[in-house]
């Protein structure tokens, strides 16, 4: 069958761009990237802080600088991209989109890479009681208003949730002369990277209240104050622990949700834990020819790892375009004993690449603990870790050259263990 495109990539954020470059490098030529906003680079455009690119370019770049390098390569490689274009629906081998110049268009394609990224969990999802005044912003929305529009969102700020965007915004707002009064985190540990706690809160003497949440929002038209309360181990507020803050703004950094509404339309199976597609070691989803990478697959901490993962998706999608669907015998990768999830969730040990990277997160903070990887009951690898935390994505690699009868392996298991 002749398709309109070999490969359509949905999203031109860091994942989509890296996937496009890699698929081109691997011989795929008839590519189209579709991006809903007016720029390439996705959310990187509003991330004007530094800390990007240490792994990819061995240099510390800002978000827009990191994006610019990929944009330049996309232009140099003449990879076609449709900006201001919204994908409305997808199915296996077809994508329907709309834009101002072409109208509503359906294209057939051999393969699709999902790279739509994620969205922020809104206030409504938290059921914080109170009015619905202005001045309640998801941290990323506030970041966009400040860094793209150049507007101030508020002067006295409380932040709920210690996700990385919230932490970055605590520093950004402080540098802009706003007063960040508190960051409240319902869990007993931060959801963000340790480096961001140090560089964005500690360095500016912004208090982080762990095991605290917001139980009331005051102000009918504009936020006027919030009530903070300590929570118990059941995460329920404890009476008699209220603290009040007068503030005009509440930022929320309470979690990111992979945007898989299109994936669901195409009947791609999702993980109830990552809320992203279930994938094998080629990053192919449950639907043949549909691949996924970046934050639509699972929420990452560092863009460098998004690019790395997306490059693999690009390569695998171009292999698929070249060779068609392969018979695969995937075995499951089980997560146990303190490991919350892994990506991929399954692998084909006989068909896999020479080395594959398993990304995973743990369920809790662990000190001096090891991560072990088993094939059936055989220990393949064990890594000692000083600290493991849910806010930091971990990796472990599997080498095909490992001396084991791969054809007899029925399952892999990844788990934390006592370090002895």
């Amino acid at each position: 069958m002749k398709y309109d495109k070999d490969l359509i990539i949905i999203g031109a954020g860091p994942a989509g761009l890296a996937a496009a470059l890699s698929s081109k490098e691997n011989g795929c030529t008839n590519i189209l990237i579709i991006e809903r906003s007016q720029y390439m680079g996705g959310i990187l455009n509003q991330c004007i802080h530094n800390g990007f690119g240490l792994h990819t370019f061995h240099q510390e770049l800002t978000g827009p600088e990191y994006a610019a390098r990929y944009e330049k390569s996309i232009q140099d490689q003449h990879i076609p991209i449709s900006l201001n274009t919204m994908v409305l629906s997808i199915a296996a081998h077809s994508v329907t989109y709309v834009n101002q110049t072409e109208g509503l268009v359906t294209l057939t394609c051999h393969a699709i890479i999902l790279a739509m990224g994620c969205r922020e969990r809104p206030r409504g999802a938290l059921n914080i009681p109170g009015y619905r005044p202005s001045g309640i912003y998801p941290a990323g929305t506030a970041q966009q208003l400040m860094n793209i529009e150049g507007k101030s969102v508020g002067k006295r700020i409380v932040i709920l949730g210690s996700g990385d965007i919230g932490l970055i915004m605590a520093r950004r707002l402080t540098l802009e002369g706003s007063k960040v009064l508190a960051v409240a985190e319902i869990m007993p540990y931060s959801g963000g990277l340790k480096r961001n706690i140090v560089q964005c809160l500690d360095d500016f003497h912004i208090p982080l209240y762990l095991s605290h949440t917001i139980t009331q929002i005051e102000g009918k038209k504009r936020v006027e104050g919030v009530t903070l309360q300590k929570v118990g181990t059941d995460r329920k507020p404890i009476e008699g622990t209220t603290m009040h803050f007068d503030c005009d703004t509440l930022l929320l950094s309470v979690g990111l949700i992979p945007e898989n509404e299109l994936s669901i339309q195409a009947h791609v199976a999702l993980s109830p834990i990552t809320h992203g597609p279930l994938v094998d070691d080629t990053l192919q989803t449950s639907v043949a020819g549909i691949f996924a990478c970046g934050n639509v697959l699972h929420v990452h901490d560092l863009v460098d790892f998004v690019s790395e993962e997306a490059a693999l998706a690009g390569k695998m999608a171009s292999d698929y375009v070249k060779n068609g669907e392969k018979q695969r015998n995937n075995i499951p990768l089980h997560c146990k004993n303190g490991v919350r999830y892994s990506v991929p969730q399954s692998i084909d040990p006989l068909e896999m690449e020479q080395e594959i990277t398993i990304r995973f997160r743990v369920t809790d903070v662990f000190h001096n603990r090891s991560v072990a990887l088993y094939a059936n009951k055989t220990l393949l690898k064990k890594i000692k870790k000083k600290i493991l935390a849910p806010g930091e994505m971990e990796t472990i690699t599997i080498k095909k050259t490992q001396d084991i009868a791969w054809n007899e392996v029925q399952a892999l298991t990844i788990q934390t263990e006592e370090t002895v």
Partner: protein, 477 residues
């Protein structure tokens, strides 16, 4: 300024009355205290068009409910607003209460409700497989429906406007003074309106307005209800509106699809003092959660996208207060319009207009515009029509609100159409931009820009709703 009629209040009742009066040669103006119409009770309610089994037979409420339901069926077509006859089910979970279904059925028959049927457990579960399995029977009301309460209010208003009614927002009435031949209405912004007739559709403040001119005092107790709205992904958990049989412990809460295919649960019913307190509370949200699960066990609460609260204007006399005030001729009440006020609103309007018109000896307009065209919604267009529209106006091909698939063209229409939006909430109520699962996280900035470009209001002065709800605090350094 001198008018024949001043309508106080731009909720669904005030706007419906404006439309009914606009059929006649009357010089009418409607005054609304907020920055937009549909900003009080009309914007935060269940959006249900009741079939009419509930009100006591013989009451005005019962009559208006039956008439209102029928009117909404026809007006939704003429005035192009969203309405669906999805049917209501009143479920019974205890065998010993099955006779109460019969009581409701009989009451419905007495009220003249059509399409009533008592169903056995198996029939109920077949209609609604996600219901709690302990259901023993239900009353099906086929004429029950769901409506877009914002769309209906704006449809009435726009049609009234097209037929010559004037509208002023940001105009709270502070006093109504009896004159020799009519009334003098003074507003907080200094404006004064002299008028022959007054229509009091002031919702939660309808007692205050009424008491300005009458010795027979009214008293409204706001009743607050909390709601939770769910992601469209689970919008099909129920297809009918599910009511619980009222028990001694209370009326229970409903579980319903909304006209826009979300699922919604609520409301609670708490007597309030403060007429402005539309806050949600932890207790109420916990209560609707608990009660809704008695109807539908497996509600996925992680799919809640927002919770909100609305106030109903319950008058002490229990029934609606509709008609000319005895000791104040020419002053007409549409007061104490609590549930099923939304369902009754077009019938209330017709009754009130009839009385007022008779008194004023007004004539029918020869060229009354009967229909109104709602907003284009690109999502509902077939590909050919959508492409034709984009060719005509490419902005309809530029999606701004990703979750609800709302284009820039639709947002501009919400702003530019008659009585258009001047705030983000106004845009949201007219075209749904920002009402999806990300709750405007992605589109806030762009929607603000569009509103600013279209109206000339500087970005810093763009509000969420009324003055004081500005989103920004100036420039960054």
């Amino acid at each position: 300024m001198e008018y024949d009629v001043v309508i106080i209040g731009g909720g669904v009742v005030g706007c419906a009355i404006a439309r009914s009066l606009s059929k006649y040669t009357l010089d009418t103006i409607l005054l609304e205290k907020e920055e937009d119409l549909c900003s009080g009770t009309s914007k935060a309610n269940s959006g249900i068009v009741h079939s009419g089994y509930d009100p006591k037979p013989g009451t005005l409420m019962a009559q208006l409910n039956i008439e209102g339901n029928a009117l909404i069926h026809t007006l939704s077509k003429e005035l192009d607003f969203d309405f669906k006859e999805n049917g209501s089910l009143i479920i019974c979970r205890e065998k010993e209460h099955l006779d109460q279904l019969k009581t409701l059925y009989n009451r419905g028959i007495a009220n003249g409700v059509k399409g009533l049927e008592i169903l056995q457990k198996e029939q109920v579960m077949q209609l609604e497989p996600n219901l709690n399995n302990d259901v023993v029977g239900a009353l099906l009301c086929k004429t029950g429906g769901i409506v877009d309460p914002f769309g209906m209010t704006y449809a009435f208003a726009e049609n009234a406007f097209a037929n010559g009614v004037k509208f002023q927002c940001n105009t709270p009435v502070i006093s109504v003074e009896k004159l020799k031949n009519g009334y003098l209405i003074s507003c907080q912004n200094g404006k004064k309106f002299q008028t022959k007739y007054v229509v009091n559709a002031a919702g939660l403040y309808s007692d205050v307005i009424h008491n300005e001119v009458s010795q027979h005092q009214l008293h409204i107790t706001p009743r607050r209800g909390n709601y939770m709205l769910f992601d469209k992904a689970i919008g099909n958990m129920v297809s009918h509106t599910i009511f619980q049989l009222p028990t001694q412990k209370g009326k229970g809460v409903l579980v319903t699809p909304t006209i826009h295919n979300n699922m919604m649960i609520g409301p609670t019913s708490v007597h309030m003092q403060d007429r402005e307190d539309t806050s949600t509370t932890a207790e109420d949200l916990a209560l609707i959660k608990e009660l809704a699960q008695k109807s539908v066990t497996a509600i996925p609460f992680q799919s809640v996208i927002t919770s909100f609260s609305g106030l109903r204007a319950a008058e002490d006399g229990k029934d609606f207060v509709i008609g000319e005030v005895e000791d104040s001729k020419g002053f007409f009440d549409a007061a104490g319009i609590k549930s099923p006020g939304l369902s009754c609103s077009p019938a209330i309007a017709e009754h009130l207009a009839k009385a007022l018109v008779a008194k004023a000896h007004a004539q029918k307009k020869p060229h009354f515009i009967k229909t109104r065209q709602g907003q284009v919604r690109t999502k509902d267009l077939d590909p050919t029509a959508y492409n034709a529209l984009i060719k005509k106006n490419p902005l309809y091909g530029k999606i701004v609100c990703r979750c609800e698939q709302i284009s820039e063209g639709e947002i501009i229409d919400a702003i530019q159409r008659p009585l258009g939006a001047t705030s983000l909430d106004g845009i949201k109520r007219r075209c749904r931009a920002g009402s999806g699962r990300c709750q405007a996280g992605f589109c806030t900035a762009r929607t603000m820009e569009i509103l600013s470009e279209q109206t000339g209001i500087p970005l810093e002065q763009i509000t969420k709703n009324a003055e004081g709800s500005e989103l920004l605090k100036g420039e960054i350094k």
